[in-house]
């Protein structure tokens, strides 16, 4: 008799707990999609910094569907990039992903109200037990290779200050007079005026690599790797982005997702700057895609 009462009470209690925000925050969703990305083996050098090369465009492509990120606030309210075309090759030492998508505007500007286009490739750190594909799960990190248009532009020499405010006046350090070289002691002082630079924030434009290697273990546990070995480049042409993101297949870095087994999983995320996509406001794959690395 007692059991009969306790059981429904317990069920109701559990159900109620499950609906609380705490529960949903801990909820881990692992989804493996039936789609596959096959990385074809091709000996010799790969055109890692030429995304419009025929080497890429002649490869077979898989169309990967994207949906708005809708698990973690801030969510993406309106869908932006509906799908991407993915191609992949490897030469035994480097594995590269070529990602192509339609985007009417090339957004690379950095300003209070401007956001950058971008794309990322993600792998589970433990391919045997992949975590939530969007940002990893507690103690189950993912390895993320992030390409952002603004970081590439900065690396190529664009100053967003000069671009946005050509007539600006910066009241700046007297040690930095035009036509005079800056002594190392004064350089340190000048650096101190920009706290993010002084502290070595790895996202500072111009200092960040074009493709940034990141580990994520849930939404707010994100670390930028010490060893940055990824490469890549994006080109926007006639309303389309063509982006190459590449990493070594085998690395000694324990923070890198292992790919030497010949198979793993891969997921993608994409940002449309014109639609204010930034951070968690992004388009994501519905789950992990199987990754097969040809030898």
């Amino acid at each position: 008799m007692q059991r009969k009462i306790i059981f429904p009470i317990l069920t109701v209690f559990l159900l109620l707990w499950y609906c609380t925000p705490e529960a949903s925050a801990q909820k881990k969703e692992v989804k493996i999609l039936p789609e596959k990305v096959v990385s074809k083996f091709q000996a010799g050098a790969l055109p890692l910094t030429d995304p419009t090369s025929g080497v890429w465009l002649n490869l077979p492509a898989s169309t990967v569907k994207l949906i708005p990120q809708d698990v973690q606030e801030p969510k993406l309210a309106a869908p932006s990039i509906g799908s991407i075309k993915v191609r992949s090759i490897n030469n035994g030492s480097w594995i590269a992903f070529h990602i192509e998508w339609e985007d009417a505007t090339e957004d690379f500007n950095l300003r209070a109200d401007r956001y950058s286009d971008g794309v990322s490739v993600e792998f589970p750190l433990n391919p045997k037990q992949p975590p939530d594909h969007r940002m990893g799960s507690e103690k189950e990190p993912i390895h993320l290779l992030l390409w952002k248009a603004y970081q590439q532009k900065a690396k190529e020499g664009t100053s967003f200050l000069a671009l946005n405010y050509p007539n600006r006046w910066s009241d700046y350090s007297p040690y930095e007079l035009p036509g005079h070289s800056v002594s190392p002691a004064h350089a340190a002082e000048i650096k101190g005026l920009l706290p993010a630079v002084a502290l070595g924030n790895p996202i500072v434009p111009g200092t960040a690599p074009v493709v940034e290697e990141i580990n994520a273990e849930t939404w707010n546990k994100v670390t930028i790797q010490e060893d940055q070995d990824a490469k890549g480049k994006g080109t926007w042409k006639d309303g389309r982005w063509y982006v190459v993101i590449a990493r070594p297949v085998i690395t000694p870095d324990p923070q890198d997702a292992p790919l030497d087994g010949g198979s793993s999983y891969v997921a993608f995320a994409c940002w449309d700057g014109a639609k204010a996509n930034q951070g968690p406001r992004k388009m994501v794959t519905e789950g992990w895609l199987s990754l097969e690395i040809g030898k």
Binding site: P74, A112, N164, L194, P195, A196, V204, V222, G279
Partner: protein
């Protein structure tokens, strides 16, 4: 995630992204709007101290704007208020929605993002009064046509909207003093904080790609000295200190006295729900309807108490201590016509007379046997 927290400024529980966690003590300021002369010394003191670097050209962590028309960024208050929509204060508590409760699905905070140009006009609307002065208008309180200056820094809120919104967890509130900081090493420049802060006190640096904000001059704060904008204030309108929650208010704590005991200083837009920690003595010449929207239903009483200061030696004494030292006055006492400011440990910092002594020199200097003329 949604947690239930208590916000004394709206006198009720509300929802917030994180659980209630008050700091050991909370940095606070009281600004007497009636005394500000809009000299902008505070704005420049801050600018030259903290934001003279590259990428900070449009930043004024402290600004002084003219109400009703001025605002930096342009129309920040109109923008957030119109998004929040008409809301209601009840007899004892705020019955409307806060920026956390009014957040649309999928968001942590009700928000808006100013355009870049909105940051380019720091003193737009300066000295513009509320309307046209009709022929024959004469002065009476409140004025038929009015304006006043609003001094703005980050409120180092108890429930910061900026902190709640940061997806990286790169914003933190210091447990030792309640100062809200953006970790410049970990900020990823997502600008969620900028969109979420209802007071628009977060700025974006295009050189570093990070968001930056007022740091409450924490190096001076840590040594018991006033922040730059407090210390340099020409009008002596600013009082810096520590605020307690109402039930722990101390009569001899200057901020507690003005906010909790005399209730003469009020938070700016308490209805936003962030529990801001800069308090304002409302301007007595302005339209009370406008002021009630800005500072809540306590405005009329606050102005009446302020106007009565001449009969209230403690209040008068404290208002005279305001801006009288570059050190933080943590305790005060008014005795025998003198107001005295102390450190928390009771060491005297400064004393001011409630009435300046009046000296009248006799017309004739007997020693020199000359008359004192004002003629050269």
């Amino acid at each position: 995630m949604s947690h239930e927290v208590f916000n004394w400024q709206i006198n009720r529980k509300m929802t917030y992204w994180y659980p209630e966690h008050r700091p050991g003590r909370q940095f606070a300021g009281v600004f007497d709007i009636n005394k500000c002369i809009a000299c902008q010394t505070c704005s420049l003191a801050c600018k030259t101290t903290w934001t003279s670097g590259k990428g900070q050209e449009l930043m004024f962590w402290n600004n002084v704007e003219t109400k009703p028309w001025g605002g930096y960024p342009t129309a920040w208050d109109v923008n957030i208020l119109s998004r929040l929509g008409p809301q209601k204060w009840g007899a004892d508590e705020y019955e409307g929605a806060t920026v956390f409760e009014a957040a649309p699905k999928g968001e942590r905070v009700l928000q808006y993002q100013p355009e870049d140009g909105d940051w380019c006009n720091v003193n737009l609307g300066e000295d513009e009064c509320s309307g046209i002065i009709e022929k024959g208008t004469h002065l009476k309180l409140p004025h038929a046509v009015w304006f006043f200056y609003l001094q703005r820094i980050c409120n180092h809120c108890t429930y910061p909207a900026c902190l709640a919104a940061c997806p990286r967890g790169a914003i933190y509130k210091r447990p030792e003093d309640g100062v809200v900081l953006i970790d410049q090493k970990n900020c990823h420049g997502h600008r969620e904080c900028m969109k979420a802060c209802p007071y628009k006190r977060v700025f974006f640096n295009v050189v570093t790609g990070t968001s930056e904000k007022c740091i409450a001059c924490y190096p001076s704060l840590e040594s018991g000295k006033c922040n730059r904008c407090f210390e340099t204030c020409i009008g002596k309108i600013r009082l810096q200190g520590w605020i307690s929650t109402p039930e722990k208010a101390r009569e001899d704590n200057p901020v507690d006295f003005l906010v909790h005991i005399r209730k003469v200083a009020l938070p700016l837009y308490p209805q936003f729900g962030t529990e801001p920690n800069v308090y304002y003595i409302p301007p007595k010449q302005a339209d009370p309807v406008f002021l009630r929207q800005m500072f809540g239903p306590g405005v009329d009483k606050a102005i009446a108490t302020y106007k009565n200061a001449k009969n209230d030696p403690e209040l008068l004494g404290l208002l005279l201590l305001q801006g009288s030292s570059d050190r933080v006055i943590e305790r005060f006492r008014v005795k025998d016509g003198t107001a005295i400011g102390y450190t928390a440990k009771g060491a005297e910092i400064v004393r001011v007379p409630l009435k300046e002594p009046l000296h009248v020199r006799p017309y004739k200097d007997v020693a020199l046997d000359v008359f004192r003329h004002n003629v050269t």
